[in-house]
């Protein structure tokens, strides 16, 4: 089966944790640590995480039912929302309450579930926006092209390399609004890489993407790990999660209810009950009685 051979190619990172695997288990080399993070909306507790560490240099998947608090947690970590209480560190630095743009400068970027390409700019212009420390973005220096032209050319070159990798190079002068949904996902991911982040946080990168395109997106995510980046992503597609994730964190009702390597987490009865369902690896044709069980 071709899926088995592609699974063989993915080298999982092991040995990420210290001690017994349980919610909040310490990691050997955490890039993010969170303590007592609490966020409430009116009477609803969206996030209530006692302790969580995200391992550096690995691909971690954040899963859980709708309403579990995954996007809220993302928003808190990336400076798009402020917690009621809680502290967390990125690379050892205390970053609770630090706004998103500053976090991006520190090496942490995120993508959005509903893509946020700037529709009236071209694909290349969208990419160039993602780059950090652009000299031409200061009022006085912008008046003198000789001060920023060389850097601008470098940025354009880097953008083209990334666009070629994501097969969007032929679209460089098209308006981002003219891209299909899947292509916008690619642009979003490519643009996130322009700032050469240490940590890339992807919010449902595969949502609404054709399954065949999903595989090439997965390859790109695996490349990020090969290049030394840490990846944290939210996903519902468990095949994708077991294919590329080194570590899985399960959120339910705002709390971490399980974490561990994908195989173990997916066998956890509480996770099966609340999230995966018991038909995970079963053909629904047999469950619904549409095909005889014997033929499978």
């Amino acid at each position: 089966m071709s899926s088995k051979s592609s699974a063989d190619k993915v080298v999982k990172t092991t040995g990420l944790h210290i001690g017994t695997i349980e919610p909040g288990v310490k990691k050997v080399d955490p890039i993010i640590t969170m303590d007592h993070v609490h966020r409430q909306f009116g009477g609803l507790t969206a996030v209530d995480v006692e302790h969580l560490e995200i391992p550096r240099g690995a691909i971690t998947a954040l899963i859980g039912p709708n309403g579990a608090g995954k996007t809220t947690l993302f928003n808190l970590l990336t400076g798009f929302d402020k917690p009621d209480t809680g502290e967390w560190t990125f690379d050892g630095r205390n970053i609770a309450g630090v706004p998103a743009f500053r976090l991006a400068q520190m090496g942490q970027v995120r993508t959005f579930q509903l893509t946020k390409a700037l529709g009236l700019l071209t694909v290349l212009e969208n990419m160039k926006l993602g780059s950090k420390n652009q000299k031409g973005e200061h009022f006085l220096t912008s008046l003198f092209p000789f001060l920023w032209k060389a850097q601008d050319d470098e940025i354009a070159e880097k953008a083209m390399r990334l666009l070629t990798k994501f097969k969007l190079d032929t679209k460089k002068d098209d308006f981002a609004a003219s891209l299909s949904g899947g292509q916008r996902k690619l642009l979003e991911m490519a643009r996130a890489l322009m700032s050469e982040p240490e940590l890339v946080m992807l919010d449902e990168p595969m949502a609404g993407v054709n399954p065949a395109l999903t595989e090439s997106l997965l390859e790109h995510i695996l490349d990020l790990k090969t290049e030394g980046m840490t990846v944290l992503f939210v996903e519902h597609d468990m095949h994708m999660v077991s294919h590329i994730a080194d570590w899985v964190v399960v959120l339910a009702e705002g709390k971490v209810v399980a974490e561990g390597p994908p195989d173990e987490v997916m066998k956890n009865p509480a996770v099966i009950d609340a999230y995966l369902g018991s038909h995970q690896d079963t053909d629904l044709g047999t469950v619904t009685g549409r095909i005889p069980k014997i033929s499978e």
Binding site: N66, G182, T214, T288, R290
Partner: protein, 243 residues
């Protein structure tokens, strides 16, 4: 299914779109015979949702024909289609958030208020979780719960044909499986069903026949099983993960 049976829904060479001069459907043809569960899969932008909306009179048809049991229904407004027994479960904005669950279900049968009580009993019997929460505001429900209310509302008129736009979208795996099983059960009770889906694998596992839409036309068709195992469909649309 007898070959000579004429289709309940027939779409012939449909051309439709949203913006002037831009067609999303470019001559799409599908059909659904009595009691079939038809799956519509394909990449983003292929026209899957547009096809359903065109059938339901929500998108302007520029060329082609749609018929219901042989009668031309091209361009008929949604309320007329509901009268004729066609129900639609949209993907988004599918409940009235300021109304209760019960009121949402009532809206589904406003054309036949006399049958309300018996239909309510039937529909609520299908959705255990809604039974205890009929007075709850639909706006406070999660995505999956709204899906159930939207489906329930479409079923209130006892439709002969049910159109579903991505019933599994945004749901966790366990809720997706529940949704698919529910659609299968509704279809087995005799409702001809056309289901657009992004989760192609699950869709093909339960449907009788399916169409793969690409760039606004029906590119492939076959039984659910045939398409699930077709190498071309796998490489272009399904991917190899999870086989």
């Amino acid at each position: 299914m007898p070959e000579t049976q004429s289709p309940v829904i027939s779409v012939e060479n449909l051309v439709a779109g949203y913006l002037p001069g831009v067609n999303i459907l470019n001559g799409c043809s599908i059909e659904a015979r009595q009691g079939e569960l038809i799956g519509i899969i394909g990449p983003n932008g292929a026209g899957k949702s547009t096809l359903l909306k065109a059938i339901f009179g929500q998108v302007k048809v520029r060329d082609g024909r749609i018929s219901l049991n042989g009668d031309d229904i091209t361009g008929l407004k949604a309320n007329k289609l509901v009268e004729r027994g066609v129900g639609m479960v949209p993907q988004n904005n599918n409940v009235f958030p300021s109304l209760t669950i019960e009121e949402n279900l009532q809206m589904g049968i406003y054309q036949q208020p006399k049958h309300y009580a018996e239909r309510l009993e039937f529909v609520v019997g299908l959705f255990d979780e809604l039974k205890k929460r009929l007075k709850q505001r639909a706006g406070s429900l999660s995505g999956g719960e709204r899906q159930m209310v939207a489906m329930g509302r479409a079923l209130m008129m006892n439709p002969k044909v049910l159109l579903l736009d991505e019933p599994s979208a945004g749901l966790s795996p366990v809720r997706q499986d529940e949704a698919f099983i529910r659609v299968s059960d509704i279809n087995k009770a005799g409702v001809t069903t056309i289901m657009v889906e992004q989760n192609a694998r699950r869709c093909l596992q339960i449907c009788d026949r399916a169409y793969v839409l690409d760039q606004g036309v029906d590119a492939y068709t076959g039984t659910g099983r045939d398409l699930l195992n077709d190498p071309k469909v796998i490489s272009l649309y399904l991917g190899t993960l999870g086989t």
